[in-house]
Subunit: 211 residues, 2 copies
Amino acid sequence: MSEISRNGASGGGPPGRIGIGLELDDVHMKILEILRENGRISVAALAERVGISRANAYTRFEALRADGAIKRFTAEIDHVRAGLGITALIFVTVRQQMWKQFRAELARMPEVEYCAITTGQHDAMIQVRVSDVAAVHSMVTDRLANIPAVKATETVFILDEVLRRPYVLPSDRDASRPVRRMPQEAQGDVPLGKMRFVGAAEGRAALRKDG
Amino acid sequence: MSEISRNGASGGGPPGRIGIGLELDDVHMKILEILRENGRISVAALAERVGISRANAYTRFEALRADGAIKRFTAEIDHVRAGLGITALIFVTVRQQMWKQFRAELARMPEVEYCAITTGQHDAMIQVRVSDVAAVHSMVTDRLANIPAVKATETVFILDEVLRRPYVLPSDRDASRPVRRMPQEAQGDVPLGKMRFVGAAEGRAALRKDG
DNA sequence: GTTGAAATTAGTACGAA
DNA sequence: TTCGTACTAATTTCAAC
């Protein structure tokens, strides 16, 4: 089990603490970027790449860890090689006032790699990795459907994972959005009809409170 | 850019090689599990936890890396702390025969953390992390809508990331599915109406070929 | 916040089981 | 293959600046 808090905030920090604990400067950001692409780099090498002293690098490294800005270090596994060749997304509609139960049941399903609460038609999206399609079917019909909190599910299979980036930081964003434009002038000749934003369903705002 | 191949297979291996390069035994699996929860553990400590010699651990560690079973080591960042507090899922319908262009454009969008091709109503799901909701709007209307390959989009926001596990390996699965049951007897008194599996749309099978 | 030197640990090589 | 040991290189810690 590894529950992470609202939008990932205060991952490793002391529970109950709200707000920022550490003001992240450019050097912190650079450290995070490097650690995202190489989580096993030594702090000494990190210091050299960032252009700071080793002691400084150790201090900042520990601060980032303690603050929760770095949640954990992990190895990305090739699931196919590991015997889990099937990935599926299951969109779940959850009965109101039953989120606590839903989350508890999720914790008991090791096949679930990721779960997010979303706006839109469904309430949650879970990503599962299993060895074969039969296991997806079993997962949905045996386990999910038996949870009273689950009102309905919709399952799609992932045919290909095109992209998985560890480089998502504000410094990347700046490069792609050098100028902040007004939506009106930016849209120009774009056919707006092909876009759709889906907000939360009625009464959804209350759903997070009892989770 | 970090393109990963079909369902993540042969991630770091030599291109063009098909099939398994390394038979993964229980010891390999145990190593993968430990590295998923602690990507910065020393090989010496790894050897001790697995119960093998250091030399053996180094050999296996390198083999897993070279084989591509371990794709990379990375630090999981708290995106809120890093200034990217908004996460959204954008479901994209892609015009057939234009996947190559779509993928090329994706590579130029640093906000995109993950992209998968799926069955179901839409063709792809992309996950983006940005600093504010305006950036999502800008992303969808300015950038995605201007891609000819994009026929339509549907955007939902992630309100909370409940779970992100690094423990998805067959050994977990075995614990949760100790007995392989037939679907019929397994379903029992489950209301089947609430589940829905969504296959690929017509003509979708051809989509991956020109990607 | 930086540098440098001591203590510790990591990584490599190689022979034996 | 795997293990154990010895050897070399690098990292981390700590102290002074």
